[in-house]
Amino acid sequence: MNNKPLRSIYLIPYTAWVLLFVIAPIALIVYYSFFDLTGQFTLSNYANFFSSVYLKLTISSFWYAFLITLFSLLVAYPTAYFLTKTRHKQLWLLLIIIPSWINLLLKTYAFIGLMGLYGPLNAFLETIGIGKQQILFTDFSFVFVSVYIFIPFMILPIFNALDKLNPALIDASRDLGANAWTTFRRVILPLTMNGVKSGIQVVFIPALSLFMITRLIAGNKVITLGTAIEQQFLVTQNWGMGSTIAVFLTLFMFLIMIITSGGERGTTKVGKVK
């Protein structure tokens, strides 16, 4: 099976995929970003991006993506840890994964009903004496629904990392006198850091470009880079500006990939020791 022609045949699907669906689109976006509405070559789109409104938009997108990732992590890590300790862990994991198969928009619409003034959430707040609150169309509802949507994607890689962790290492740590907190901080966390990093990647990056939820749940009070791109292409029909925002979004993504994939030394290798 090791002859060369066969190996290059195997390479075809991968190369074709990367060329057609990764390199070509990015090249096109970069190309379009240099043209204005009349089809003239220009750098004005880039100048425009650094105007106050788009800069503010970028900062707020990052802030919300950060919040969403942080809360997803805070919920997902303990959940994943708990799951690895249960007896039928694959079943429990499946129960968490199943809702992520349902279309995102359908789930979002459900939240409009749940969080409405006459929805169950407000009915609950009223019975415990807090009274009706405007929940829908707030920052809170936006972060809450986004976290709900992203949690399964955060749990999976962390679960896999924790599951692969050799229990003997924890026993060793305890035998050597480390308490539970130190064991977690010095042994478990470093060994599962890769799971956390891939979790952050799959949550933070899509969170930057969330759209529709911004309108349906946040009532456009939160606007992300994704919304701005959609508007430029569909409403304003300014493909140049839309592409420019997309170029920056792509750059941010690479940046995050580089940051979260750094430091793949020692730690992972130890994890693989059996």
Binding site: L57, I112, G116, L136, N220, K221, V222, T236, Q237, N238
Partner: protein
């Protein structure tokens, strides 16, 4: 490995069988584009019974597809690969599509029912002599509100939305021309202003409305109003009619400073395959009885004069949906301001939305 191959083969066979069945079902009575037309319309914008009636009367099968924005619709037609025989753009979009040479001229020999249309709605600036388009429905933009959820506030003008007692209650439309237009109208400027100073003033005025804004959304607002979730919204007249149909407490007004008067129009895209069928469809929709039934179903205002005589007098005397000419003279039709201006409107609107956080 054997199981895997068997599985894959099974899936391929099943898919193929389903594909054959699907194409057999799709054929129905029609074998070619000669006896079918494809209608591309807004959602919920026609009485489905009329499509059946048209099929029975003419033997032409109707394939019906929907869109939810003028720009999206134009994009699809412009990119090609579609063969829509009828579409329903709004007035500024008719102008834009005509400029881009995406429309076919209408042959009035095949549309005798054009005489049913009120001349007031013909030969308008966006399509002189109705070369490419025939009005389908018309309406206004105004304020829908639910008095039972409010403390006696009344609405006559745009300015009443700025009332400090309405904190967090006003729902706006996620569309730049409408929202910036409201700012312009409230200052007494034209909806079609291209004066940057006026646009700046309108944006600043909208920024002061922010404390009162509950959300900036699209069609979802209908459900929110019907369910008493929202009390006040910037709404098109037909959408308001939908709300009132389901929730009788809701009322609708067109503000006195002026507002938008709009038209959705039947056109034949350049990509049409069955041009005769398209004309037959237009002529059918202009028939007095058909137009009356359709207006009754859809709830927007019909430009069909002959149809009005067949409709419930209570409906057509309702000033909220059929304003008299005096009121209409305060209203403005959107002009196509060009892509550059549209970009400026959208950037200003984005700024207002960003300030809400």
């Amino acid at each position: 490995m054997k199981d895997l191959i068997r599985g894959v083969i099974l899936i391929v066979i099943i898919s193929f069988v389903l594909m054959v069945i699907n194409s057999k079902l799709g054929e129905g009575g029609s074998r070619s584009s000669k006896d079918s037309i494809t209608v591309y319309n807004w959602g919920e914008y026609i009485d489905p019974d009329l499509l059946k009636q048209f099929e029975q009367e003419t033997g032409i099968k109707v394939i019906y597809e929907t869109f939810d924005s003028n720009e999206g619709m134009m994009g699809k037609i412009e990119q090609g690969g579609t063969s829509y025989d009828i579409s329903m753009p709004s007035e500024y979009m008719v102008e834009m599509m005509a400029e881009k040479d995406l429309l076919l001229p209408i042959d009035y020999d095949k549309v005798p029912n054009i005489q049913n249309i009120d001349p007031y709605f013909l030969d308008l600036p966006f399509d002189p002599k109705n070369k490419y388009s025939i009005p389908y429905f018309w309406g206004t933009l105004g304020i829908a509100f639910n008095p039972t959820l409010l403390e006696g506030q009344t609405f006559e003008s745009w300015d009443s939305l700025w009332d400090p007692s309405l904190k967090g209650r006003v729902v706006l439309v996620d569309s730049a021309r409408e929202t910036i237009g409201m700012g312009l109208n409230s200052l007494g400027y034209s909806l079609n202003s291209t004066d940057l100073r006026e646009l700046r003033q309108a944006t600043d005025k909208l920024n002061t409305l922010i404390p009162n804004v509950k959300a900036v959304i699209g069609d979802e607002v209908t459900q929110l109003m019907v369910n008493n979730e929202a009390a006040i919204s910037l709404t098109w007249s037909g959408q308001a009619a939908d709300m009132m149909y389901e929730n009788e407490d809701i009322d609708y007004i067109v503000p006195e400073e002026g507002s938008n008067l709009w038209f959705d129009n039947m056109v034949i895209p350049r990509t049409a395959k069955n041009i005769d069928g398209a004309h037959a469809f237009i002529n059918f929709m202009l028939d007095a009885e058909v137009a009356a039934q359709n207006a009754d179903y859809v709830g927007y205002s019909t430009p069909n004069e002959a149809a009005l005589t067949l409709m419930d007098p209570e409906v057509i005397e309702d000033e909220r949906f059929y304003p008299d000419e005096e009121t209409r003279s305060h209203l403005e039709v959107y002009k196509n301001l060009g892509l550059e201006m549209l970009g400026i409107y959208n950037e200003l609107f984005l700024e207002v939305k960003m300030n809400m956080n």
